[in-house]
Point group: C2
Chain length 119, copies 2
């Protein structure tokens, strides 16, 4: 589901550095401050990034629900954002957060619990 | 650039759990073993995942070049894979690696060097 055409106040100096998918999104890797655990992968459009940077609360674009999603708004498992870094080619963000409660909607600390067999 | 229709030997039990983009890809977050540093974000199709799991050398699909890419094949900055984990909804992988040299093609340790201002 493509993101809506919303007016955004994202700093143009940042917006110019983003390389978005055809749907207008940038991948957001979420890492826990302190432990370094990678908690989840989510997606942001310009407006979600603007809200994340200005409110300090991690805000994503939900591709399945087609809406903005303040992490923890219903579960209470909020993410207080300590830092947001952009990668070298502008298509991925690293969001460092203080995670309250479980990051995963399944109730686990991280979403990456399914280890694949190597051989 | 969509991935080619290649025969792949990826274990069907794994392939069944993947939720791919329209281009047939799954995001691969690369984290350094030991330090926990998030190094880069890359992409894998089924065959790249198969090669990664069976060779122990991180192998991606290059969207810009339209080809498989064994990380470090030309630079020497290879990634020895310690673990690959799939996330709860099957659209992201966490690849834990021993990184030789710089992970980023710019020569820096990680690709996430551009810290965005929060306010």
């Amino acid at each position: 589901m493509p993101v809506p055409e919303v007016e955004t106040s994202l700093d143009p100096a940042i917006a110019d550095r983003l390389k978005r998918t055809a749907d207008g999104l940038v991948a957001a890797i979420v890492q826990e401050h302190g432990t370094g655990d990678v908690l989840m992968l989510a997606w942001m459009d310009d407006e979600a990034l603007h809200r994340t940077l200005t409110t300090g609360r991690a805000t994503y674009w939900s591709r399945s629900r087609g809406e903005y999603w303040v992490k923890g708004a219903t579960s209470g498992h909020v993410q207080h954002v300590k830092k947001v870094s952009l990668d070298c080619d502008g298509d991925a963000l690293l969001v460092t957060v203080e995670q309250i409660g479980a990051a995963c909607h399944t109730g686990t600390h991280t979403c990456f619990t399914d280890d694949l067999e190597m051989r």
